[in-house]
Subunit: 217 residues, 2 copies
């Protein structure tokens, strides 16, 4: 399948490498078609290419937003509404702003809204699935880097899009019984707000290689 990944950072490269490795034609997109990180990556990964955000969006049958959440709306404007129409967008980003200097970030948007919902409102022809934003890049593509039956979460309004996302998460190494579907995209507010706890735990434990499990009776 053709997959367009918006972004060229750690998350984009980790997802791109794994998805190319399992046989997908992956294109990374960045602001600059000659982005040196993306060029170096695509030179070494099979089935890999790179280009602008619009190139990546036009290429993919599935899109993944792996950009900084604070830059996402600008990135999607550059990607182009028509290039994204009818395609599932998996939003792995976090709109977290550390500019206040506080140890915990502020969410922009947050508290009554989420970036994923903002994307969905702005691009109604592109079903958005929030996923992957609650673990670091290594865990995204290698869940067994941390022991135990820890979980990913997913939220979205389109059931077909979530089924497609679930297949893709399976290819990344996450079996369906370890992906909890929290329902409609409104639950992206919970997944983005969880980042505050993620950051607090990361600072406490001194590692980003951790994840949560749920036990219920």
């Amino acid at each position: 399948m053709k997959i367009g990944i918006l972004g060229t950072g750690t998350v984009a490269q980790a997802l791109g490498t794994k998805l190319a490795h399992v046989g997908h034609e992956v294109r990374l997109g960045s602001r600059d078609a000659q982005n040196p990180k993306a060029a170096a990556w695509s030179a070494h990964a099979p089935l890999a290419s790179h280009g602008t955000f619009a190139d990546a969006a036009a290429h993919g049958a599935i899109l993944i937003n792996a950009t900084n959440g604070l830059a996402t709306m600008d990135v999607l404007a550059a990607a182009g509404s028509d290039n994204m129409a009818g395609k599932v967008l998996i939003d792995a980003s976090n709109p977290i702003d550390f500019s206040s200097g506080d140890p915990l970030p502020v969410l922009r948007p947050g508290n009554g809204d989420s970036l994923a919902e903002m994307i969905q409102r702005t691009y109604p022809r592109t079903p958005v699935v929030k996923a992957l934003n609650t673990v670091n890049a290594e865990l995204m593509v290698n869940p067994s880097a941390v022991a135990g039956e820890h979980l990913l979460f997913m939220a979205g309004d389109d059931e077909r899009a979530k089924a497609l996302a679930l297949d893709l998460l399976g290819e990344l190494g996450w079996p369906a019984d370890r992906v909890m579907d929290l329902g409609g995209l409104v639950a992206a507010r919970a997944l983005e707000a969880y980042l505050l706890l993620w950051v607090a735990v990361m600072r406490t434990k001194g590692t980003s290689l951790f994840n949560v499990s749920l036990t219920a009776n």
Copy 2:
């Protein structure tokens, strides 16, 4: 020890019953000294009494805020700054507002602030520890109601207050190795924002008897 609990609802009664059972003199506080719920509770619990918010605050050497988070600042004003001075306040509340009709609440305050920090700013003579707000009343006093090594979290600026809170959590059934200290009270932002995920999971699983564990490598 004398413990003052602000509130008379499910959380206040669960905590009060358990703490009286292990030998503390517990007083529940409410707006009305004749509150029928509190009167019925104190008639059946040993070492139990009830009164106004000010009565409960004056009584306790340790205080627990078990009120609705949206009412907390009014409750504390009624409790009285002098009655709370020099006492540790364990804030178990959540400032969650469902009035928008959305399935997930809005935090008031939230996103760059927390209720626990607002309490601490307003009552600097009362060291505040955020704890217990991430599980339901039953789990607060009976962690084994859910299997596994699931966790509580704690945050506060005063180390002595956190040591006291840790002892109290131990009496509630939470061994110290299952209480993660996330550092300064700023981390209360993470614990209050976690409620969005708690509500989303509660709606998905149809139970409030669940909790999170962390696995790290």
